[in-house]
């Protein structure tokens, strides 16, 4: 027991000194478990996140927009893959992670349980949802676990295009007809609050934050990141000429930040628990894609084995 305590102290000293932890290094079991959970849930979010946008690929208003949306959705698939690989270095298999997602044991970001009703939603998701993800992910490029940090660096390089293409969609709608601008405002009205919820529960209801900060998994708290998002986003909404649906939103000279209204955390927990507008639909789509692809996976494996056997025989 003393031995473990000693190892834990040494581990914490390495973290405090700003060293990165690599997969084969000794680590506390809880550090490993926390990472498996966090990285796999992050991966699931990237992958499920393809669904609401995939919904609009066939209905994009021009070939340019269709190419862009396809490229973005393909990037999100890539993000999922980088992250699944990072989690695998900790000793969990890909199949196990999929299993956890498909049985509902593992969560993914709640934002993807909201429907995408209009083309303006593609703009709003790029602007707000990818925008919120960027703030979180930029922080995570400095996280203490090497493979996670490296995946984040790769992801962050690709995210900026996601946000800019989204903002451009809205810019065009907002400079278009009154109906188009209304469409943009409606999308903002629906996505604003769920976007703020993306940063997770408030600090005083987030019991794991202290440990995560100590291990340098997180470098900022949920509330700090949320405030940063609001401060950055409000002026961007002004450029579009859109109104953020929060009557309490106003600049606080003293704090040097925007004050904003109360978030409806009951809604957040309802969606987390599976009662959001699209939870069932999203999970069903994922499970069906996995099940329908089984014969392809098996056939590819059988082919590889057969080729291998032929090669061995020839030698």
């Amino acid at each position: 027991m003393d031995n473990v305590k000693n190892l834990e102290d040494q581990f914490q000293a390495r973290i405090d000194a700003g060293e990165k932890i690599e997969p084969k290094d000794w680590m506390p079991e809880k550090y490993r478990k926390t990472h498996i959970r966090q990285i796999s849930q992050h991966a699931h979010s990237e992958v499920v996140g393809m669904l609401p946008e995939g919904n609009w690929i066939t209905r994009a208003p021009s070939l340019k927009r269709k190419c862009t949306l396809l490229a973005k959705v393909q990037d999100e698939a890539g993000h999922g893959l980088y992250l699944y690989s990072a989690a695998e270095t900790l000793g969990i298999s890909r199949d196990e992670m999929y299993e956890q997602l498909h049985t509902g044991k593992a969560k993914y970001s709640s934002i993807f349980n909201y429907p995408t009703l209009s083309w303006a939603d593609m703009g709003t998701i790029g602007w707000l949802v990818d925008g919120a993800a960027i703030i979180n992910q930029v922080m995570l490029t400095r996280t203490s676990f090497g493979p996670y940090a490296r995946a984040m660096v790769r992801i962050c390089k690709e995210e900026s295009f996601h946000q800019r293409q989204g903002y451009e969609i809205l810019l065009i709608l907002c400079n278009g007809t009154a109906v188009q601008k209304e469409m943009a405002q409606d999308a903002l009205n629906r996505f604003w609050w769920p976007s703020l919820m993306m940063f997770g529960p408030p600090d005083d209801q987030s019991p794991n934050t202290a440990q995560s900060v100590k291990w340098k998994i997180k470098r900022k708290t949920n509330d700090e990141l949320r405030q940063r998002f609001v401060d950055i986003t409000v002026p961007q909404a002004e450029v579009l000429g859109l109104t953020i649906p929060d009557p309490d939103l106003k600049w606080n000279e003293e704090r040097g930040h925007y004050d904003f209204g109360e978030i409806d955390w009951t809604e957040f927990w309802q969606v987390v628990k599976g009662n959001g507008p699209c939870n069932k639909e999203r999970l069903k789509a994922k499970v069906e894609a996995w099940d329908n692809g089984e014969w392809v996976r098996d056939a590819a494996m059988a082919y590889a084995e057969k080729k291998n056997a032929q090669l061995t025989k020839a030698i």
Binding site: K24, L81, S85, E88, S93, A151, R297, A300, M301
Partner: protein, 95 residues
């Protein structure tokens, strides 16, 4: 019938001629050909490479961090392997 997972491959990419292949990450594929194709899609969507190496992860032997002491510490006290160890007059040029 549920078969086992596709094996894991490590991916190395040369970003341009003149530079070495560098490890970029890993992926799953049934065989080497598919591993290269998947690596193309996952790791070179923005012209990040001109050449790809893949190797099944199980074929890599890694040093154990627990042996770091015996492996790397002996080099620590061999400061005489560095040019700065030798004190020469400052007026001396090109050396």
């Amino acid at each position: 019938m549920k078969k086992e997972e596709w094996p894991i491959w490590e991916v190395f990419i040369r970003s341009k001629n003149g530079l070495e292949h560098r490890h970029v990450g890993s992926l799953h594929a049934a065989d080497a050909t598919m591993a290269i194709e998947n690596a193309r899609d996952v790791y070179t969507r923005r012209q990040e490479g001109v050449s790809i190496w893949v190797i099944e992860s199980k074929h890599i032997t890694a040093s154990n961090p627990e042996n770091s002491g015996e492996l790397y510490e002996p080099a620590k006290d061999k400061v005489y392997r560095h040019p700065t160890f030798y004190e020469l007059p400052i007026e001396l040029k090109h050396i």
